[in-house]
Symmetry: C2
Subunit: 320 residues, 2 copies
């Protein structure tokens, strides 16, 4: 298959978004926003850094890469609409495997009625996939990290640490409980779009998606909002068989494991009932894990075993 | 410099676009379209494929990469507004050189009042830069490849083959006329934004940007519009000292050299005077090079030395 046949093979024959005017096939795509604000983000995934073929089939590489991007839209309260994919393809990848990457993306895209509207295909020595996502949000309803206030409840969706537990299982042979559950959580994340969209009923909610662990994400909220966040360890939700892993791994994955693609947020206490109602409606687990305190310093503290410790930022630094 | 300081160093302190609501610093950027259609495209540039440090300083790498993207917006008749940059950085590139890439982009961006509103920085073994551009166009005024009609004039902006001539000069030592001119045309393209925007006065104009040579671009118009295009070799505009190169190279660069980032288009004959007027206003050279014929076949033919020959597609195929 050459480049042009390949592009033909991944091109959609029909588009789902009525706001789309021109999809793939010209110098650029064109769409209309219909009095909504437009939300956009880009992420790049590199073989050996973000994934290896040992732990992911090409299908999962695509599914998860787009999932990570869609999770950014969820964290903005936006409805996904479009994606563009630039891919650098090395000679040691078969076109059939590259096609599987696109099928993985398409399966996730279809769940969110997203259209592939552009991209670029180039050769190189290292597989890298750069995805741009575009979504819509009602005017003034984009959700930021910077809106948390003293007295807010801090909550998360789902259970934490699962994705890294899945990766661990894939990398370390052994007998584990719920292997499929953890592996799927690693390979096929479920961005919390429906839940986040319905939060538009609230006048104020602070949101961040959990791509680098709540140790990092809570710090981003604390810094952007200029507040201090208190998290109580025993409240942080984990899967029922998560206790099979060592306490050290549990702690590491929960707070710094990342890639769960859940949401962390804060709301005024008065809105908590509404949040729980929206969670019920959208079949989303939601758990209060702490609160926004009146302390100065814009820090994050964890209460664990009657001890207070600071949860610092520990992001993966690509340029170190 | 670590990743976080680096991102801080390239982040804009102020934004120029009034339509921007949230720039860099949250999970995604947010903007408003103000009853205009939104145009978006993505392109990726890989070291060794699209550029080498032998022929480009890091500054030029950035300037030209964004220029190529902005040229796609010109070909849509759009006004550039935003760009997002995902960059894969190998260890053998110094952060200072990466900063120069961003300065090159910024200098071109400033010419078009564009804001950098997002991106991603990851490590890898090969430098690759993926740029997403976003622009606005009046409703129903996006310009496509598919609107050419029999009887239209075919025109191009600027002179062709210059970029490849510049590359040739950089790769082959020798005494050349106008060295600086050709080298700059290669390193610092000038996307035809002002000219293309003003074409909005026309009820119909077909546009394609010249990234792969008019041999390819004219074929894209012919296919998309289902017409046949006739080009007359002696009309194709070249720089005054272009004749210093061999006839074979002249021909190759003019038709298949690419990267001139000029525009090729077609308009009804009745609009030609307006096009020339807009060219004058925007200080743009514009030249009729042929016409759209009534022949069947959706092909492109070149008349050269009283002979008619077919100009076929010869794009660089990344997956061959």
């Amino acid at each position: 298959m050459d480049e042009f046949s390949f592009i033909d093979s991944i091109k959609q024959n029909t588009y789902k978004q009525s706001s789309l005017i021109k999809g793939v096939g010209d110098d650029a795509a064109v769409f209309r926003s219909d009095s909504k604000d437009i939300v956009t983000a880009v992420d790049t995934f590199v073989e050996g850094i973000h994934f290896t073929r040992k732990t992911m089939d090409p299908y999962h590489v695509g599914y998860r890469a787009l999932g990570a991007n869609v999770s950014d839209l969820a964290a903005m309260g936006a409805t996904p609409a479009f994606y563009l994919v630039s891919i650098v393809i090395p000679k040691n990848w078969a076109i059939e495997d590259i096609s599987q990457i696109f099928i993985g993306m398409k399966d996730l895209a279809n769940q969110h009625t997203m259209d592939l509207i552009g991209g670029d295909t180039v050769s190189g020595i290292e597989l890298s996939i750069s995805i741009t996502v575009i979504g819509f949000v009602e005017e003034e309803k984009a959700r930021y990290r910077s809106t948390a206030k003293e007295g807010d409840l801090v909550f998360v969706t789902g259970t934490l640490g699962d994705s890294q537990a899945g990766l661990y299982i894939l990398m370390n042979e052994g007998n584990y409980e719920d292997t499929n559950y953890y592996v799927e959580r690693h390979r096929m994340p479920s961005p919390r779009i429906d839940f986040a969209k319905k939060l538009s009923y609230l006048s104020r909610v602070t949101l961040n998606d959990i791509s680098d662990g709540i140790g990092n994400e809570a710090n981003e909220i604390a810094e952007a909002s200029e507040v201090t966040i208190i998290i109580q360890d025993e409240l942080v939700p984990v899967h029922s068989s998560y206790y099979q892993f060592s306490p050290e791994l549990q702690h590491k994955w929960k707070y710094y494991g990342g890639e769960d693609f859940e949401l962390i947020g804060t709301v005024p206490e008065s809105e908590w009932e509404t949040v729980q109602h929206i969670a019920d409606q959208t079949n989303t687990m939601v758990t209060q894990i702490g609160y926004v305190s009146s302390d100065k310093g814009n820090d994050v503290f964890l209460y664990r075993n009657q001890q207070k410790e600071q949860l610092k930022k520990k992001g993966y630094n690509h340029l170190k």
